[in-house]
């Protein structure tokens, strides 16, 4: 199995506060990996460090076997010929003043299976609302748009930050269905979630992050079976969701 993403000993800071203490993780081709942990454990920072939106001070990141440490963000996103890394940030971050379709035309076109047409067949709701301003979409539609936008880079790896946040369960299901389809098309996914039950049902492997360090790593099914551990590791949200 080829490793799509390898992060090794990532140390990241916000100003003087030390957020990540030597985080190492990997995602293999076609694999879905979830990164769990309480609020403030460093999950989002890990994704930001991989994208170099928060440049890590120490550690190396390899993507598709290539050392990308120090690459600018736009180059990591686009990759070097063999597919890039799609990033769907927490809180979606649309361009509010652009329409749905205009948002989708912002990423530079890349060859691959995802084009505007295939995106609209994956998310029929977005096709219906293609001329609406992104700022006027519902939360679920915004999440779909954020995912769609990332897919247009035709990434082989997708980083998803809390896709279920603030969404009604029905909408979460709709979003997750789309994610399932991406997975079946061979896109590897690194999923950050607070809703551990949801994430574990979906993932192949899981990491648990606490105070900026990985404290658990293993098959998702194994972790999901141990509900006590889920509770203690991933925080209160997990038990509530169950």
């Amino acid at each position: 199995m080829t490793l799509l993403l390898e992060a090794e000993g990532i140390e990241a800071y916000y100003g003087k506060s030390h957020i990540l203490h030597g985080v190492s993780l990997s995602v293999a081709e076609g694999e879905v990996v979830t990164l769990l942990g309480r609020n403030g454990a460093g999950k989002t920072t890990t994704l930001r460090a991989i994208m170099r939106l928060t440049p890590p001070r120490e550690g190396r990141v390899r993507i598709f076997g290539q050392d990308v440490t120090g690459w600018p963000t736009h180059r990591i996103a686009r990759g070097s010929g063999n597919g890039g890394v799609g990033y769907v940030p927490e809180g979606r971050h649309m361009f509010r003043h652009l329409t749905v379709e205009e948002n989708l035309r912002v990423p530079p076109p890349t060859p691959g299976q995802w084009s505007l047409a295939t995106i609209f067949s994956l998310f029929p709701r977005l096709a219906e609302r293609r001329t609406s301003k992104a700022g006027r979409l519902s939360g679920g539609e915004q999440e779909m748009l954020a995912i769609a936008r990332a897919l247009l880079l035709n990434p082989r790896l997708l980083l998803l930050d809390e896709p279920s946040q603030g969404l009604a369960p029905v909408i979460v299901e709709e979003v997750m269905q789309a994610v399932r389809r991406m997975r079946s098309e061979g896109t590897a996914i690194l999923l950050v979630e607070q809703n551990a039950i949801l994430a574990l049902a979906f993932a192949d492997r899981a990491y648990v992050l606490s105070d900026g360090a990985i404290i658990h790593e293993g098959p998702a099914a194994e972790l999901a079976a141990d509900s006590e551990k889920v509770k203690s590791l991933a925080g209160a949200r997990a038990s509530r969701a169950a």
Binding site: M51, I76, R78, F95, L98, N103, V106, K133, A150
Partner: protein, 329 residues
């Protein structure tokens, strides 16, 4: 996702042209085409219309940067002035060819913006504004000091509009034909801006205004994007400068001075910088004020200043922004 929001699908950026937007544009176009006929009827004159077109084009060029890409340039007079000097110098020293004269102005201003762009775009916010002023003033001092070539402080004279060589013969650019000459170039400049803003490149520019970091993880090279915006903006403003030199048969270092850059910014804000045609309305108001209020008081600028303050305080979207709001509400 509510019915209420569905009722207002009009693009806030004012770019697309659906339905009644087309009609409004057609009326606008007819008014511009017929201006030499109706301006005298309302007690005005054709050259005033030409001046509106010149300032509108300069401000619309700036607005690609200011309103759509989100860069406050306080140095756009530099590209306007270089456009004017390029045209004037060409006519004075090289030859009486109007096409070459316009080309020289556009190239001089546009290439300067293109070369300075990477230096300027490295900075953001207030530092960006300061650097644009600094580069702008550089050209002002060159024009003032290089006396025997540019005419120095007194300005560049000794050139005038020449007959325009067309396939069917030469046209003498008296007042009314010259209006259409400027209108044609205005249309070209406006079309370029409109086309850019409706392309994925333009969408990315609006994206840069909203959040540049966000563009980076979508694979867009933000520095190159803003550079392109700066260059296009410079070319369009230089075209306006070229027209200005031909309109006045004169240009002076004041066309390069940072005060003029400030007027361009005021024109954009007054009319509405989030609106494609906002700067046009701003320019019309500015030119009318300059013409009418200045015959009443020599402090006509204080009238503009007062309007500017009121607009910033009460209508931050500018006058056209308010009108667009009313219509869609």
């Amino acid at each position: 996702m509510s019915v209420e929001t569905e009722a207002r699908p009009r693009s806030r950026a004012g770019l697309a042209l659906p339905g009644d937007e087309k009609l409004r544009f057609a009326i606008f176009a007819v008014l511009l085409l017929a201006a030499p006929f109706w301006l005298p009827l309302v007690g005005s004159y054709t050259d005033l219309g030409t001046r509106v077109l010149v300032y509108a084009l300069a401000a619309m060029g700036l607005n690609l940067l200011l309103g759509f890409t989100g860069g406050l340039s306080f140095g756009h007079a530099a590209y306007f002035g270089l456009g004017a000097y390029g045209t004037g110098l060409m006519l004075r020293y090289v030859g009486p060819n109007m096409w070459l004269a316009v080309l020289a102005g556009v190239l001089l201003g546009g290439v300067a913006a293109t070369l300075l762009g990477p230096l300027v775009m490295k900075r953001r916010g207030i530092y960006f504004a300061m650097i644009t002023i600094a580069f702008g003033q550089m050209f002002y001092f060159i024009a003032v000091r290089w006396n025997n070539f540019t005419g120095g402080e007194d300005g560049l004279t000794g050139f005038q509009r020449e007959p325009l060589a067309l396939p069917g013969g030469a046209i003498h650019l008296t007042t009314v034909p010259f209006y259409y000459f400027v209108l044609a170039f205005f249309a070209v400049g406006a079309f370029v801006l409109w086309w850019v803003l409706n392309s994925p490149l333009g969408h990315a520019m609006v994206g840069a205004r909203e959040n540049a970091r966000r563009l980076e993880f979508l694979g867009v090279r933000v520095e190159r994007l803003t550079w392109i915006a700066f260059a296009i903006s410079g070319f369009v403003t230089a075209l306006a400068g070229s027209m200005s030199a031909l309109l006045n048969n004169f240009t002076s270092p004041l066309d390069l001075y940072w005060q003029l850059s400030g007027y361009f910014v005021i024109i954009c804000v007054l009319g509405g910088m989030r609106n494609f045609w906002g700067p046009f309305l701003g320019a019309a108001i500015y030119v009318l004020m300059q013409d009418y209020a200045s015959s009443v008081t020599k402090n006509w600028l204080s009238v503009i200043g007062l309007m500017f303050i009121l607009v910033v305080l009460f209508f931050p979207r500018g006058l056209l922004g308010v009108l667009a709001r009313r219509r869609s509400a």
